[in-house]
Homo-oligomer: 173 residues x 2
DNA sequence: GTCGTTGCAAAAGATTTGCAGTCAG
DNA sequence: CTGACTGCAAATCTTTTGCAACGAC
């Protein structure tokens, strides 16, 4: 049932958080793993840096954007790179499901923002709350689990605008 | 990019929660929508009731179980029914991603359990924590959003067994 | 040069859909 | 009876992979 057999050995979720921004950190981090810094990888990360924290893309979207800006990257490589960067802790995989995974820049290790997702228009608001992190840590400890990341709490909701439309029989966007 | 064009018109996220348990409620709820109660639908829901609250299945698993207990249901119908029941608010779609959606009984509105997911072996532990719900409500209020469900907090972690293997160069299961 | 990476095309997995036969109401 | 379901098989979509060419170091 798993669609994700081991492949890239980059899956040490414990990797030390890279100082984002510079290519230098990425290069040496890759080298430590015996891997290489290719233009594709660099551009991919740059794309997310440009996008800014808290905004996410699907594999397909990332591919489109790269091609849009003239880069030569195959979709397969996008998938491979997304996985690699996530494994390195540079990107974070969101679990909003609804047909396709999404990725965003893994911000400073100590920011932990959660999402309020409007199921109607897709608008996303973020918020932070330390109680959530505390709850996560306490649960992990209680079950003997070792937390890899602070989980992201995704709340499905209606934003003010959509909530207003809700009663009136308007078609979803 | 969406893999989910409208089909079953059962997608009113605000639908009144059906009183679970009896076939009666299901039947009339379906009738209100001009739909029918078929053995497949009934058995599907029964399966989840049997399973109990807080336990989830993928479409494939649900199909296996039904067939296992001698039911004659096609996988396509399992998918269709899962969607229908979710749309009616009887089942809840979890967003654990990692290859495949999972569904569980949409239990009493006020139970809210979260997940500790082992990224290595897939083991899932559940826990509850009211602080999380409080945080969710407070955030929704602050942003003017209208919460549809209490979000589920999915924590990516390593279970005790996998954490032990982690250092030694063992291949993932 | 060597060995990790890439692109491509094919494969695999998950979910949806067209259609004709079936059955709930 | 009639229109809503179902099963089946084919179609889609998303993600992964085998392999030969390529390029970072």
């Amino acid at each position: 049932m798993s669609r994700r057999p081991p492949d890239i050995s980059a899956d040490s979720p414990e990797g030390p958080a890279l100082s984002e921004g510079s290519t230098r950190g990425l290069r040496s981090s890759l080298h430590d793993r015996g891997q290489r810094l290719t233009p594709q990888r660099e551009r991919m990360l740059a794309l997310f840096h440009h996008l800014g924290e808290g905004r996410h893309l699907s594999a397909e979207e990332a591919h489109q954007r790269l091609r849009g800006q003239g880069e030569q990257v195959s979709l397969a490589t996008v998938y491979r790179t997304l996985r690699l960067l996530s494994g390195m802790g540079l990107l974070k995989e969101l679990e909003l499901a609804e047909g396709g995974r999404r990725f965003e820049l893994a911000g400073g290790e100590h920011r932990h923002h959660h999402h309020l997702v409007c199921v109607r228009c897709g608008r996303i608001e973020e918020f932070e709350n330390s109680a959530v992190l505390a709850a996560a840590e306490s649960a992990a400890t209680r079950h003997g689990f070792h937390l890899l990341e602070q989980g992201v709490l995704n709340l499905r909701a209606l934003c003010p605008a959509c909530a207003a439309l809700q009663g009136s029989s308007l078609a979803p966007s």
